[in-house]
């Protein structure tokens, strides 16, 4: 597709991660937007700098080195770009760095407005430190004490359908005003009010005496209708407002940015939603972004999206993951014998040294095992929170260094084992970590994301076909015929419990015919008529994963390790 660009502008996207700050450059090449390069430097949010500026400057300097494009003049960013090609025309910024926002959710019914407030909070980099609802049996003073102990950065106050309950909301507002009066002004949390719309004015009048109040549309305008999306935009604004006080230097960049800075999870989700609009309308899109501190999972179906930010990562986030995931659940993914105590030691060690890269077979195995389990737990938590998460996804997009740093075959294996997709799914790797940047750029430039996605900046890892069967392990369940464009063809049989790579080269188009030898299901929710379809080979070709769902690992350790090795070989890892 060729699009004429009237106002072609170069864009510099800055991403402040918990470990690294990156500077991503996009510009027009031969009439199309392209990703030009990425510079990287340590994030300088913590000691000794306590200001993001140094990390940003170093990342841009690195980008300048890599691309040989002059971006800085006397240490200052050249903005807008000059006729000689130096500088950039626009700057955008996303961030994930910083401790999670401490959030208290307040509502009426625990499984209605309180739950919606929880879901809203979970769509950002937050930790819910207290929840107060109508059925809370604690006396009011105990609730005030609990609220103070929670040390919130933000309070989400919800409850009451529009024109519905008002007295109970007033009770919560009373409680809150007591607490706000006790907290020193400089430590007071901000408030998002997302309850009964009829009470917006009185609630705002009372609370704004003490703190900043953000008003969002009611999360539950009707008892059985949940409306999170508009409130997510308000949450994004509130988050930036709070972060500006917590992250040194963030506020000072605002004046040079083309759009308001956005936390990376929101930007990531925005891009996943965008992809769902332009992709197969019958399937959803899932995006996973695993970092040192967090796992972001975003899902979207026909333009409706949901996002979870889970406090699980391969660095500091591993501490939280290890509090909820037993070591045995991680160890079961090890293809070699490593004592559980060694696994535990290594993963905790990484919480202290998050930049560590695994350089031995053992440490690589432990890290890969942990990644699989974190993905599995994360996706299940997301599905529990959002039951409408699509079962079938096209594509599944993976970002974040812990997922993209390996060989493509290993990356695909980790993703398939961790996410256990159904049906036919293409796995796309965002090796350069562009998704969140494209999400924020799409705010005022819809062409750039489309053209960058259509370029080769994203890697097609491969298509994964999952035939489900009740046959015994080792039984031939499926005959696969691959018909190449040149006219030649091959056939092979797939056995239950196996991972089989179809010999389709990167970029090669072929038609795949599935001939069941036993009853099989490809589409567990649809009419399941998918028996012949066209595929384009990814870096790992096309994979038939006949291991069943959920993956069942043998309980016998020796057998399990053999099985994991066989499966890895199937992926080519």
């Amino acid at each position: 597709m060729t699009t004429s660009l009237v106002d072609a502008e170069s864009v510099l996207a800055i991403e402040i991660g918990s470990i690294h700050t990156r500077a991503l450059l996009f510009d027009v090449v031969d009439g199309q937007y392209r990703f030009i390069g990425a510079g990287r430097a340590p994030t300088t949010i913590h000691a000794p700098f306590f200001d993001i500026s140094e990390g940003i400057h170093l990342a841009i300097s690195h980008l300048q080195e890599i691309t040989s494009r002059i971006l800085l003049e006397e240490s200052r960013l050249i903005l807008p770009g000059k006729a000689d090609g130096s500088g950039v025309d626009q700057v955008v910024l996303t961030y994930t760095a910083g401790q999670p926002l401490r959030v208290v959710v307040m509502g009426l019914l625990e499984d209605v407005s309180v739950e919606s407030a929880r879901r809203l909070a979970a769509s950002a980099h937050t930790i819910i430190t207290e929840a107060i609802g109508l059925n809370d049996r604690r006396p009011p003073e105990a609730q005030i004490d609990a609220l103070l102990r929670a040390r919130p950065d933000l309070i989400i106050l919800s409850g009451g359908t529009d024109q519905g309950a008002s007295r109970s909301i007033a009770k919560n507002v009373d409680l809150l005003t007591f607490a706000l009066q006790i907290i020193p002004r400089e430590k007071r949390p901000e408030v998002i009010y997302a309850g009964n719309h009829a009470l917006v004015t009185p609630v705002k009048d009372v609370l704004s005496t003490y703190t900043q109040v953000h008003v969002a549309p009611n999360l539950r305008p009707e008892i059985d209708v949940e409306n999170l999306s508009p409130a997510q935009d308000i949450l994004a604004d509130a988050e930036f407002h709070i972060r500006s006080r917590q992250i040194g230097g963030l506020q000072s960049y605002r004046s040079i940015l083309a759009v308001e800075p956005l936390s990376a999870p929101f930007a990531f989700a925005r891009m996943i939603r965008f992809l769902s609009r332009i992709n197969n309308p019958g399937k959803g899109v899932i995006g996973v972004d695993l970092g040192a501190g967090n796992l972001i999972i975003a899902s979207a179906f026909q333009g409706n999206s949901a996002v979870s930010v889970l406090p699980m990562g391969t660095g500091p986030g591993m501490a939280q993951a290890l509090r909820t995931i037993p070591i045995s659940e991680i160890s079961r993914w090890l293809p070699i014998h490593i004592p559980e105590s060694v696994v535990e030691d290594y993963l905790w060690h990484k919480t202290l040294h998050p930049t560590l890269l695994p350089v031995t077979t053992e440490t690589a195995a432990v890290e890969q095992a942990a990644i699989r389990q974190v993905l599995w737990n994360g996706l299940n938590q997301h599905r529990t929170r959002y039951p409408n998460t699509p079962l079938l996804a096209e594509p599944i997009l993976a970002a974040g260094m812990p997922l993209t740093q390996w060989s493509p075959q290993t990356s695909l294996m980790l993703l398939v084992d961790g996410l256990q997709p159904f049906g036919i799914t293409t796995f796309v790797q965002d090796a350069h970590g562009l998704t969140a940047a494209l999400g924020i750029i799409s705010t005022n430039n819809a062409i750039l994301p489309v053209q960058v996605i259509e370029s080769n900046a994203f890697v097609n890892l491969g298509t994964v076909i999952v035939p489900l069967s009740n046959a015994r392990y080792g039984t031939s369940i499926l005959k696969v015929k691959v018909e190449y464009e040149a006219g030649n063809q091959i056939s092979l049989e797939v056995r239950q419990g196996s991972v089989t790579a179809l010999p389709i080269q990167t970029g090669q188009t072929a038609r795949v015919h599935l001939q069941p030898l036993r009853p099989i299901t490809i589409d567990p929710i649809g009419k399941d008529t998918t028996r012949s379809f066209k595929v384009i080979g990814g870096v790992c070709g096309v994979i038939v994963d006949a291991r069943g769902r959920p993956l069942s690992l043998p309980t016998d350790a020796a057998r399990r390790r053999d099985m994991l090795k066989k499966w890895a070989a199937g992926f080519g890892a």
Binding site: T44, P48, E141, I182, H349, P358, V359
Partner: protein, 349 residues
């Protein structure tokens, strides 16, 4: 590339701000010599609250009526039994304070009382001199001496003589090598693998433990342990790096302070300080990786070993497993040369 720095310095100028969690009273003065456990400031932390609903108790219909009957103002201290509100008249209804407390808010006919909270004491954290008093908030303590930083600690502070329970940095500390001769000391060892070593440290008691590493399974027990514990390398059975071990050895039997407060977000790291009469320089917190630096290896199989950075390879190198990374060449102390990702090192400065 900016390198993470760990200070293992024979002589440095050390300056530490010690802050209360809120406003409080400063007990030290500028120029005062303090030891690590000396209380330099104190504060009464907020206590729990009591809500007294005057309107409801007195059976009033309107909030304004309640406010007229409340006899106290926000900020007033009251003792148990003091009158908060009363109706007046021949047979007045009286509401009394249920506990010694302070009135922190009055709204909608309700009084919120705050009971006295826990008493918080702020320790100096190191042996030194108070160089600055930060009004109602804290103090700055300065000294010159040897500085050894760790990577994890259990948040305790103390001071005492530095002693060794082991002769090599890879030796385990267990109940058997913590004898009575070490009582009241800050004890150095390779690693702790069994919980009984922590029990023995508390029973003696020790005033501190300086370890290369501790098993992750003991993190929770170590956090609860009243003895300050500082870890120099991380979790597992990693020997203490020889640079730290050697420097600590040169100060055996010297008076030492141990502060194991640890908050990476604020750059707070656990540390051992041995005050010395000589003048040191302020250590550099920011350095770039440069050939010739002494570096420490953070990853297996060389965890805790130190060496010299002899080269940084240009571009990226593919490691087994497909990782593409920037690699450095390190000459270890035994002259063996190895290649490692730059991200698996920190600089000892």
């Amino acid at each position: 590339m900016i390198a993470p720095v760990t200070h293992i310095l024979p002589l440095a100028h050390i300056r530490r701000a010690r802050m209360l969690p809120g406003k409080g009273r400063i007990l030290a003065r500028v120029g005062q010599e303090v030891n690590a456990a000396y209380v330099v400031a104190e504060a009464d932390l907020p206590g729990s609250h009591i809500l007294v609903d005057v309107r409801r108790i007195l059976g009033l219909k309107r909030v304004e009526q309640a406010h007229r009957l409340i006899e106290r103002k926000v900020g007033e201290r009251v003792e148990k039994g003091d009158i908060l509100a009363q109706t007046g008249g021949l047979l007045p209804k009286v509401i009394r304070a249920p506990a010694d407390s302070t009135i922190v808010a009055i709204q909608r006919g309700q009084i919120l009382l705050e009971k006295p909270g826990e008493h918080f004491e702020l320790k100096a954290g190191l042996n030194g001199v108070v160089s600055e008093v930060l009004s109602e908030r804290g103090v700055v303590v300065e000294t010159h001496g040897a500085l050894i930083q760790g990577v994890w600690g259990n948040g305790q502070i103390n001071g005492g003589l530095l002693q060794f329970a082991v002769s090599q940095p890879d030796e385990e500390i267990h109940r058997g090598n913590l004898d009575m001769s070490l009582r009241g000391s800050i004890v150095v060892g390779g690693f702790i693998h069994k919980a009984d070593a922590l029990d023995a440290a508390e029973e003696l008691p020790l005033r501190g433990l300086v370890l290369g590493s501790i098993s992750a399974a003991l993190i929770s027990a170590a956090q609860k342990c009243s003895v300050p514990i500082m870890v120099t390398e991380g979790f597992g059975q990693i020997p203490m790096n020889r640079a730290a071990f050697r420097l600590l050895k040169t100060h055996e039997k010297r008076e030492t302070s141990i502060n194991t407060s640890w908050n990476p977000e604020f750059g707070e790291r656990p540390e051992i300080v041995v005050s010395l009469p000589s003048q040191g320089q302020t250590p550099m917190d920011v350095v770039e990786f440069t050939v010739g630096q002494t570096v420490r290896i953070l990853s297996a199989p060389h965890s805790g070993e130190i060496g010299t950075l002899v080269a940084i390879r240009p571009g990226r190198v593919t490691l087994p497993g497909g990782l593409r990374v920037q690699v450095a060449e390190i000459r270890l102390e035994n002259n063996q040369q190895i290649s490692l990702p730059l991200t698996n090192l920190d600089v000892l400065e």
